[in-house]
């Protein structure tokens, strides 16, 4: 049995059906790329996978158990990064990182946060409030959480938006490293990204 499994998923927004009969299964070390035009329900699918939205039909299982009955145990195993990065304007980069990882159940010390931000190319900017950072730098602050969270499943909604080419390369190696360690990734992206480690599945929404 696969670790994450979605069966017969259907999503309805208002009176429009976005998708139906979506099936997928994901094992350790696998990447699921969700493709589709704007408005085809990619974000809705990812929100379903996190348990933020409930599918009209079908269910999502984690190790064979419905995620709706797992709740906290499941939330402890995933990291979700949505369109909104959850970076607070009034807090500094390092405070943002420490607070967001405390929220996801991992409390880290200043040194570890410092290291993660440095790795994301934000060295020297840790003490600046997030409101003076550029869009791409704010994205990097949000992505730095992936370095410290230690979760198995990453659910990433357009993680490459606003990133420059150096940061895209960095993300690529980060994803490869995670997959190499037996992690799983579900992501949407409009940019081409070359992941050589692990098996890549494509899910096309119309």
């Amino acid at each position: 049995m696969s670790i994450l499994q979605g069966s017969d998923l259907e999503c309805v927004r208002g009176d429009r059906r976005l998708f139906r009969d979506i099936n997928f299964s994901l094992n350790a070390g696998e990447l699921l790329q969700v493709h589709g035009p704007n408005g085809s329900g990619k974000t809705s699918l990812l929100r379903m996978l996190c348990g933020l939205a409930t599918p009209v039909h079908g269910k999502i299982c984690w190790h064979g158990t419905d995620i709706r009955s797992l709740k906290g145990d499941y939330y402890g195993a995933i990291t979700y990064l949505g369109h909104l990065s959850g970076v607070k304007d009034d807090l500094t980069a390092i405070e943002n990182l420490r607070i967001s990882s405390a929220l996801s159940g991992v409390e880290i010390d200043a040194e570890k946060a410092h290291g993660a931000l440095q790795h994301m190319g934000l060295g020297g900017r840790e003490l600046l409030p997030a409101k003076v950072l550029s869009q791409g730098q704010r994205r990097r602050v949000a992505l730095a959480r992936l370095l410290v969270c230690g979760t198995v499943l990453w659910i990433l909604d357009e993680p490459l938006a606003a990133l420059d080419s150096a940061a895209v390369k960095l993300m690529q190696s980060l994803l490869e490293q995670h997959l190499g360690q037996g992690g799983m990734v579900v992501m949407t992206t409009h940019q081409e990204i070359d992941i050589t480690t692990g098996a890549t599945q494509r899910l096309q929404l119309t």
Partner: protein
């Protein structure tokens, strides 16, 4: 535990002092305007003092309810809270406590000073402060439910007052009643015990109700 949530909200409040001061100044101004408006009739001022202070505290606390979840909602932190392995009720309790520390406690501290304008006796001032100390956390806790239900709605500010004000009424009656009862020589302990009971009930029920409302609002 949700200690770090309280810490974070206090840190954010420190960085945005104007929000905190708005609530406090609103309270001070409303309470100070009444004696100017109704004239220096001492007996009338004494009778109306508890009601005026309590209504002003109620409105001041409601003024800041909209901000309790909206900034977290707009920048995506709320999504992360919903996905946290920690209990959402505990996080919400932390946020409500932080809201009280930032908006409620300053009102409690200011009220004895403002009560002097109404020529309240030392005993009455003490009871007024005690009733606010027990009552204002209830306002934050109940207000959190309303703020969660109206999250992301247009005109949520008006709706939240319609939802929350009826629930505030018992707190208002017993809060203001405590001072009147003590002035009438009946003793305030009955009223204060009831306020304490409201506080305990809302400590248990409000975070849970807020957590459920947040999950509904975020779907």
């Amino acid at each position: 535990m949700s200690l770090w949530v309280i810490q974070r909200d206090l840190l954010l409040a420190m960085r945005r002092r104007s929000d905190v001061l708005t609530t406090l100044f609103f309270f001070i101004i409303v309470v100070s305007l009444f004696p100017l408006g109704v004239g220096p009739e001492i007996n009338m001022l004494r009778t109306m003092a508890p009601g005026v202070v309590w209504v002003a505290a109620l409105l001041a606390s409601m003024l800041s309810l909209g901000r309790m979840f909206s900034s977290d909602y707009l920048d995506g932190t709320l999504e992360q809270m919903l996905l946290s392995p920690q209990s959402l009720s505990m996080l919400v309790l932390g946020k409500a406590l932080a809201h009280w520390l930032v908006t409620g406690v300053p009102l409690v501290l200011m009220s004895p000073v403002l009560g002097i304008q109404y020529d309240l006796s030392a005993d009455a001032l003490l009871v007024l402060t005690a009733s606010l100390l027990l009552g204002t956390p209830v306002l934050s806790l109940i207000g959190a439910i309303g703020a969660a239900l109206t999250l992301g709605l247009r005109g949520g500010g008006v709706l939240v007052s319609l939802l929350v004000l009826p629930l505030y009424i018992p707190v208002l009656i017993f809060g203001a009643g405590a001072v009147e009862a003590s002035a009438a020589g009946l003793g305030a302990s009955a009223h204060l015990s009831l306020l304490g009971a409201f506080l305990l009930a809302s400590l248990v029920l409000a975070p849970w109700a807020t957590a459920v409302s947040l999950r509904i609002s975020m779907e």
